[in-house]
Symmetry: C2
């Protein structure tokens, strides 16, 4: 879920998106996000400001798109040989990345510049795709797999709720507990968090 190059097949539209996204990432690192403006980004990307406004509406929507790209997982979830181990590793990594300063900023950007909720749904779909990949692998081993909506409710939702609404200890004690609950073996919340 780190920054990744956006490489898409041809066309001017794809090239504009790539150069504008890259300009946002570069300028954010160079001048900080509070100094970002559409004219500054457009100049760096080699397009006109009106190109940016036509395509993204405003800076906030552009930042939302860039944030969602950054939240996109780089790789398939690691294979640790079993469903529980795979879910524990995935949940620990998800918690760590999403609760980092950068992760929180991207989540807020993704939600905030997104009145139609399309980018929020994309964030959720990234988690779904990863959890499905883990599930397919586990089913191939003959393991029983909770459906993905249950995993969203039991594993992903508490992490996102606590990141957004309630400062909490999201250590592996907590994420392992959530995985245990998802696998039907740990209904009670441990008392070590928040």
């Amino acid at each position: 879920m780190s920054a990744r190059a956006t490489t898409r097949p041809g066309g001017r539209s794809a090239r504009v998106q790539q150069s504008v996204h890259q300009a946002v990432r570069d300028l954010e690192a160079e001048v900080g996000r509070d100094a970002l403006t559409v004219p500054l980004i457009a100049a760096r990307a080699g397009v006109t400001p009106s190109t940016v406004y036509r395509r993204w509406g405003d800076l906030r929507e552009l930042l939302s798109d860039v944030a969602v790209e950054r939240l996109r997982p780089d790789t398939a979830p690691a294979d640790h040989g079993g469903l529980r181990a795979d879910l524990e590793a995935w949940a620990a990594q998800f918690a760590e990345e999403m609760s980092s300063t950068a992760g929180r900023t991207y989540i807020r950007d993704a939600l905030l510049g997104d009145p139609g909720q399309g980018n929020a749904v994309r964030c959720s779909d990234y988690a779904v795709e990863q959890l499905k990949a883990i599930g397919v692998r586990a089913a191939g081993r003959g393991e029983a797999v909770p459906d993905v909506e249950t995993l969203l409710d039991v594993l992903v939702a508490p992490l996102m709720y606590r990141i957004l609404f309630r400062p909490s200890d999201l250590s592996t004690v907590y994420t392992d507990h959530l995985v245990a609950a998802a696998l039907g073996r740990g209904p009670a919340t441990p008392q070590t968090k928040s």
Copy 2:
């Protein structure tokens, strides 16, 4: 969680807050939120714009404060004679109010104008207070009560996650299922949503 008059004991500071919040609510109804500006709000509230900027920083932070006030529950949770019934009624009402157009707007405002997360925590605390009140009542009847952190994870978090990230059917089929899961009687997610 509907609009409520903010009545607090004396002081100029409390009066300024009350008149500025009221001006936001009135103007939002009259001219729509996209037309709100700090000078417009200040003029209606009978204060100077600099008073608003000094106290709230900017429009977004003011809207965040107003949103949190609107998300504050008006009343104690209704007493339906048992823990399950109380939680089912509370969850159904929470889902209905938070997923309404107004509820979604207030949640977004509360989260997004709030870099320090204080208002998000207040939203979460409102839920905690209501769930604790239900729990105290149930304990008084001799019922076993899940701890409030479990109720946040199992009941509140999935509702907020789906409202923010994933359009879903939040009907009582779903909220009753979450309550059953919280009470340890329904681990699987029903297949009727999203």
